[in-house]
């Protein structure tokens, strides 16, 4: 399914507001443009947060999955 390799994995399960997005923005700065970061959260709101964050920062959400309360994102650094 995923034709990309994950450069970094970020576990944000159980973090309080707004840490998942803060962590994502900090960690994505550490990978190269074009690379992909994988992120796990338990926040339902992140399903809207991460795409709107990606839109406002010019990055891209490649995919998201929900499995038993854990939300799994693949985000590509584009800038």
């Amino acid at each position: 399914m995923s034709d990309y390799t994950v450069a970094k994995t970020l576990d944000c399960k159980g973090l309080a507001c707004p840490m998942p997005i803060v962590r994502l923005s900090q960690e994505i700065a550490k990978i190269k443009v074009g690379e992909v970061i994988e992120m796990f959260t338990t926040d339902p709101g992140s399903l809207a947060d991460v795409p709107s964050w990606a839109k406002s920062t010019g990055n891209a959400v490649l995919e998201n999955k929900q499995e038993s309360g854990v939300i799994h994102f693949f985000v590509k650094r584009q800038k």
Partner: protein, 418 residues
């Protein structure tokens, strides 16, 4: 600093000079009464951490650019110029202030340091020295005002996944989903945060009250309020106001978040619906007998931290105590409390900004209060305070339990119909 930037900053400054600001900037007697009122100064007794010291940075610029005195005899008031140095001073002043407004209650003139710091924050935005994290989070929230429709299905799916957790606390009224969304003409629009801990307990309470409610697509928190960007603050709040208008709800209940509550309740003008804190709603449900809580679910003694924006700045002080009275008879107050309560040190966006070391230092007064209370559990009604209290508890090894009031209520719900 370039002359053009200086001019632009002067304009920004001027745009902030309403009646209150002019009075604040003109009147301070340098009496120093506010000095001891600030928790930051209590932990780090330096002039730059006093309320008056913070406001002076702005006041000295005011004298320099907007007052005759600063032009004729600048040395009288030790005025400063708009340059990189003063912009850095403005940063230190504004983002070491949690905007708790404890100093407002102590100053003989009621000078509002939080308001004065909003001038400093606007100058930082103009000079592009604003904290990037808050700017980024604000932009995210604003972008969500447009992208929410695209992601709505994913969000609804995630909410549905929470149903078992909600139903473990209280049954869902027949014919409704555990977490309803987009319900037109609902009585209550509940605005939570991103995390499920801000959704599940509240959902259980609303269901236990058989309320006709609906959840917001948006998070209540307003990062732009901390950033000091009035326009972005308005846009973020507007998403929720528009949703409430679209659904024609009677009431908007805001999650345990002091700043979000204050912004929505007091800074968005008047609406055909009421805006309350979830704490007020819970108190009302208990009072009207719409929900029942069983006492004794909390072991040991319980104390309560008044979130500054909810209590002193929002007027919600008796409701949490009323609720707690139903939960336990082993309640102890922190001293001082209510309008005189010490800020926990987590306000003003400092949690979002990280600032762990600074927050742990400046939380010292709070820690002393917590220790003196000898309580086993401390609860509060603000996500920021909750995070800060949790970190203080760990950092200082207090061994207390830190709880959210809504969560305590949700776990004490009882007396369901069947």
């Amino acid at each position: 600093m370039e002359a053009a930037t200086q001019e632009a900053l002067k304009k920004l400054f001027e745009s902030k000079l309403n009646k209150a600001m002019r009075l604040y900037l003109d009147t301070c007697a340098h009496c120093g009464l506010c000095v001891e009122a600030c928790h930051v100064y209590q932990a780090m007794p330096e002039t730059k951490y006093t309320p008056v010291g913070r406001a002076e940075v702005v006041r000295k610029l005011f004298k320099r650019y907007f007052k005759m005195q600063g032009k004729i005899a600048p040395w009288l008031g030790e005025v400063i110029e708009l340059d990189d140095k003063s912009v850095n001073m403005a940063y230190e002043a504004a983002f070491s202030c949690t905007g708790c407004r404890r100093c407002v209650t102590v100053c003989p003139f009621g000078i509002d340091t939080q308001q004065v710091m909003n001038i400093a924050k606007l100058l930082l935005i103009g000079a592009e020295k604003q904290p990037q994290i808050l700017a980024m989070l604000s932009d995210m929230s604003i972008a969500k005002g447009e992208t929410w429709k695209e992601t709505a299905n994913d969000y609804i799916a995630a909410l549905n996944n929470l149903a078992p957790e909600v139903e473990a606390l209280a049954p869902t009224p027949p014919g409704r989903p555990a977490i309803p969304i987009d319900v037109e003409n609902a009585n209550v629009l509940y605005v939570g945060l991103s995390g499920k801990h801000s959704i599940v307990p509240a959902a259980a309470i609303l269901n236990a009250a058989s309320e006709n409610w609906t959840i917001s697509h948006f998070e209540a928190v307003n990062f732009a309020a901390w950033l000091g960007d009035g326009e972005k603050q308005r846009l973020i709040a507007k998403r929720i106001i528009m949703e409430a208008e679209r659904l024609k709800v009677k009431e908007v209940a805001v999650v345990e978040c002091g700043t979000a509550t204050r912004v929505l309740k007091f800074m968005t003008g008047s609406h055909p619906f009421r805006i309350v804190s979830i704490v007020e709603l819970i108190a009302r449900y208990i009072e009207q007998g719409r929900i029942k809580v069983k006492p004794g679910t909390i072991s040991g003694t319980l104390t309560y931290h008044d979130p500054c924006q909810l209590g002193r700045n929002g007027g919600v002080m008796e409701e949490p105590r009323y609720i707690i009275g139903k939960l336990t008879d082993k309640f102890v107050e922190l001293t001082p409390n209510k309008e005189a309560n010490w800020c926990c040190g987590g306000g003003g966006g400092l949690i979002s900004l990280g600032e762990h070391e600074f927050r742990m230092k400046t939380g010292k007064v709070k820690v002393d209060q917590m220790r003196a209370s000898k309580a086993d559990t401390i609860c509060t009604a603000c996500e920021n305070c909750h995070t800060q209290l949790t970190e203080l508890n760990e950092h200082y090894g207090l061994g207390m339990k830190v709880e959210s009031l809504t969560n305590l209520v949700a776990h004490a719900l009882t007396g369901f119909g069947a």
